[in-house]
Symmetry: C2
Subunit: 334 residues, 2 copies
């Protein structure tokens, strides 16, 4: 039976890569019933500063599965990031970002890399509590809660167990933030004892990040607070070859949202240049999540085969590695 | 005339690398009068939870130049990071961290890299304002002030002008932290207009970090708030070949402190294994700062020659690139 899902085509390159992704899913026989909504720039500019209408919320809330293309938040004004609002309103506490090299098919300096970053997705400096203290001083609150830490750390260990991963690493700066990052680290140590089958370790985020950028093959699953996860998942995705290759799952108790990790790249929009791989990876994670694992595997194989045949969009095209430079549409057809 | 400076040998590998550094400085004819103080672990464990005595403060305050080896802060208890305390008490607002590849002499995946990270050094989450809000919720305050931003951004542009650098990039997350990081970015834009001879650009820190880790050669000088600077200077130093190669200058209105960017590495302490290069680079920055630029150049040349001859400590030793694996002492003699 077809699964009803909500889909948003987004802004910038969003419509092109969503078109490509949906075409591939249909060709692979995914059983989906699509409810399309409009979120992002057009909604903002029509005067709704949240970027999303009540009807759209209702669609996501009732379907519980949301495939979302990148959106643009207009500059200035009182616009809030819709991505962040959605994560919070839907309780999407875990942001899962696999970063795996496709060596030798995609050029990378880190051929052995296979890391999954599991980022806390609701707390930290993303709580959105900022204010002007005096004329010249502003402040932002970093919030960390014990239930928040427990949910994300446990999710990371469960993920490791489910996907047969060996080790979970934790990154914090608890030598400086002894209470906030200290709590995250403390909970990590506590929860780790419940998973004796999985290795665990902790790194101070500065040197952990350095190691990740230099020798990513020493890591497996890494769990961290929101902001570090934001920065280091972009680093990790980029050094596999391109941020354009990575998808992400935002997982909550009831709901889940799937997307590419990159943005809406307005500069190359509408030119058939964008790489649909990030969103497609998000869609593959979605298929696994809704129990269509066989279709997910089929799409993943077709995608790998296309990449392996050297059929590459411009962002990952490299002389000597790639064979054919193609546009968004041609890549999807391949 | 000899310049009086304060020196602390620190903990872990500190005494070895400081011994090596001072030996090299003396051999090169640096005119220094050394006032040695004790800071760090021993002071902490003797019951002084600040890790530094009043006499030591007085020495630093009167000499105004401080060369410091890495120190260890004991785990747990109410110990505060002495590094952070010193930066704050001495008003050391700029942390300057040059990260340059020594290709082909030191193995690196980024042969063209030549980046200077200028990190704000007193504000941000390092303000040390943390507390328990409820049983299960803790918070930390991120503080950003206009004068703080102005000082560091202006320092970055002045540095670029003095060292004939082409471009200053600014990294913030102002799409989320519109007030705090927004202020940093805003001040960057304002100050940049006073330096029409120097290019300027802004990156959101996530994708900026990704680019830095992947293609560092596109950057020149990068200025950023404290915590991003902490993480990304370790990343940048590491991908030049080793965090063990980078030194740092902490610059204030009256005072300046020079150090390696790495820590005290207690695990390899006392084994003649440590690479003194980071602290030596700090010392070279110090010589430049106190007007002994000719000696600084001489030390830098001798150091480069040693590295170029393939005489390497274990951390940067690589089959095929290095010629001779040496200890801390032998490296210094060479
Ligand atoms: C667009 C932005 C709000 C978002 C974030 O900061 O989380 C993005 O960078 C991401 O990583 O998904
Ligand atoms: C030791 C620690 C307090 C320090 C910091 O976080 O600033 C270190 O990581 C550094 O970068 O100098």
């Amino acid at each position: 039976m077809a699964r009803r899902i909500t889909v948003a085509k987004g802004d910038g390159i969003g419509p092109e890569i969503m078109g490509a992704t949906l075409m591939i899913l249909a060709a692979a026989g995914a059983q989906l019933d699509i409810d399309e909504i409009e979120v992002g720039e057009k909604v903002y500019l029509a005067g709704n500063t949240s970027g999303i209408s009540l009807n759209s919320w209702n669609s996501i809330r009732s379907n519980k599965i949301f495939l979302k293309a990148p959106i643009t938040t207009p500059q200035g004004g009182g616009y809030k990031s819709l991505n962040v609002t959605m994560r919070k309103m839907l309780g999407l506490y875990a942001n899962v970002r696999p970063c795996t090299s496709l060596h030798p098919f995609v050029k990378t300096k880190h051929p052995e890399m296979d890391v999954v970053i599991i980022r806390e997705n609701e707390e930290d400096l993303y709580a959105g509590i900022e204010h002007q203290q005096t004329d010249e001083v502003v402040q932002c609150l970093k919030l960390i809660s014990r239930p928040g830490c427990e949910k994300i750390v446990r999710y990371a260990f469960e993920y490791a167990r489910q996907y047969k991963r060996r080790k979970v690493s934790c990154f914090t700066k608890d030598n400086i933030m002894k209470q906030t990052d200290g709590l995250f680290h403390q909970v990590f140590k506590e929860v780790a004892t419940e998973y004796p089958d999985i290795e665990n370790e902790h790194w101070i985020v500065d040197i952990g990040a350095a190691r990740l950028a230099d020798t990513p093959e020493v890591f497996d699953v890494i769990v961290m607070p929101n902001l570090y996860g934001d920065i280091l998942s972009d680093v990790a995705a980029q050094i596999t070859g391109s941020v354009g290759l990575a998808g992400s799952a935002n997982i909550g108790e009831g709901c889940a949202m799937f997307e590419a990790i990159h943005g809406s790249a307005p500069l190359i929009a509408g030119q058939n240049l964008a790489n649909p791989s990030g969103l497609l990876q998000g869609a593959i994670m979605m298929l696994n999540h809704i129990g269509q694992a066989d279709i997910a595997q089929k799409v993943q194989n077709a995608w790998l085969k296309t990449i392996e045949e050297g059929i590459h969009t411009a962002d990952i095209y490299k002389e000597g590695v790639s064979k054919q430079k193609v546009g968004t549409r041609e890549f999807a057809q391949a």
